[in-house]
Amino acid sequence: MRSRRSVKLLVESVDEVGSLLESGDYVCDRALATTLFLALRLQRPILLEGEPGVGKTEVARVVATALGRRLIRLQCYEGLDVASAVYEWNYPRQMMEIRLAESKGGQDRATLERDIFSERFLIKRPLLEALSCAPGELAPVLLIDELDRTDDPFEAFLLEILSDFQISIPELGTIRASEPPIVIVTSNRTREIHDALKRRCLYHWLDAPDAEREIEILARKAPAASTELRRQIVGFVQRLRQRDLFKPPGVSESIDWATAIVALDQLALTNENIHATLGVVLKYQDDLRKVRGAAAAEILADVFADAPHR
């Protein structure tokens, strides 16, 4: 079993993690703060699962900024392979080098091979970049975004990397990270991530926030909206989530909606501007058809009825 390096005490307590995130305008609950704290302390990757639009990618950005580290992002897609994720050789330059060496002559094969497969011709992709920070430099935050969009072979490969934090390039040798990066993996759960990979990480499911927290999020992310507008939007969206929709709106939809209403120079929700902007909140035609019109008016009436009477 590999020995762990002594843990760099990046954060002292869960509270500190919470305030770190708040300083980056990310409002999180204690559950997420605890899991993040453990990920940092135990130097384990963290797997964030949740519906699209609840702020998974945002966490990585905020953590990187708050801790003053580089953010290296690997966006996953189907067919992602070693050449796009880890490294690739600069073939055109290598071929030029071969032709030049041939025309010059006088270079033996071994030297040529050594020359061609040197760091000079190596293109580092995100995973290799994350593992090759110079000693003394702070380890970056590695964000592996939407892992559920890749396929099994890549997951197996990633498992290997996340266990040892080293990559072996046949021509060059093994490249080992002097300090393991902070790894955050996100998934939209369109596919089950393999058990082995899940066990390697600390797991956290990110849910849509409750009303109070969502209002606070809107206060930070859409400050141009008035307090009343924020309250109305959160009330509306929270009620939408109770309904049987195909894709319930996430936090980013609330933020977008607030920004849209403000962009239309409106101060509050009305049936007209809801009708106009509902496409910002609901992205499926079936959901739109279900909510537009009578249902939306009903929800809006509920929201008004809830208004705190001063």
């Binding site: 559950a31 302390r41 094969r109 759960r189 369109t190 596919r191 066990r199 600390l202 499911w205 049987d244």
Partner: protein, 395 residues
Amino acid sequence: MCLLMHPTGELSVSERVSELAGNVARFAALLRRTGISIGTGQVLDSVRALAAVGVERRDDVFWALHAALIRRREDHPLFVEAFELFFRDPHALSQTLAMLLPMTTFPDPSIKHSRRLDEAHGSQRNRPAQPAKPKSELIEISVVPSDIELDRRLDFEQMSAAEIDAANRAIARLPLVWKRQNTRRLGPNSRGARIDRRRSLRQSATVPGSIRLVYAAPQKRPPPLVILIDVSESMERYSRIFLHFAHAVSNARRRVHTFVFGTKLTNITRSLRHRDIDQALADVGNRTPGARGGTRIATSLHAFNRDWARRTLGGGAQVLFFSDGLERDGEYSLDFEADRLRRFAGQLTWLNPLLRYRGFQPSAAGIRALLPHVDDFLPIHNMQSLIDLTVALGQ
């Protein structure tokens, strides 16, 4: 087992730590008995996590254990209940440091607990004795698969128990070939259209003066397969045999998901992964509610579309929908749900045992609603139709 206080009222640090680790291990054992799989490494992690987070706050302890032990969202409610059950004393944390008192009195029956949790927490004595499974006799069947002793045209409904047994064994041995479709990965292929630069260069660097080209083509693999099985009473005989088929398929290839539905939809993919068919079917039986009442196809399809379609139907999936199409539903529109299912899937094949009647006319409303949305409408009432199905799947 209560935590005994030292006569002077203080526990030494090492005693506290080992007590803590012991409690965490017992808690993990409780979770394991409910069916959540937890590795030893995770238990070690949870102890480390508790050490890092501290035990002053109850919610910190909760989330630390949760982060280390839980890997799937579905396990969360069970974890919450188990935590409540195990660490019940609410004043413990405010009294002294690191005093976690697991209560092992049996749960109050008036409180509703999940059945799984109760079974796990109850003692060995209370568990009913499992009836001994009769060992199946080892029967010699002639090796050539197409020559198994059974009439391929005999309808499943008319088979005797022995014939059904033979049919099940034949199904376990069916040769399965899958159609292959292109993936986005390139692999070396001498007849490919693209040049594999990496391999070409590797081979050329050692032979100066020439560049030998290596070609690549997209690798192929079978698309994901989703099987939806109607297990209502009208389909009983056929669905049981089809479950054998689903089991054979699940063990023969990857990316298969199986669901059963009657009044509600259940995902039985993991159950069918057990190699032993009896164990798999027992597991399925435990997980599905009894098939009482009429089938609600539209409701089940709605649940599938909402919860599973996006997760299982990526990449041009083949869907096998096994049902007679007779339903008693009013809540959701079968036409709409079937349409949506068709849009998600690459190919939708409907297997209907009613097609065994030669003069079959689709007159029931459910059947007429489903029919326009399927790509293939096939019978499934005897061995021959199953063989035809495997052939169709391979094309």
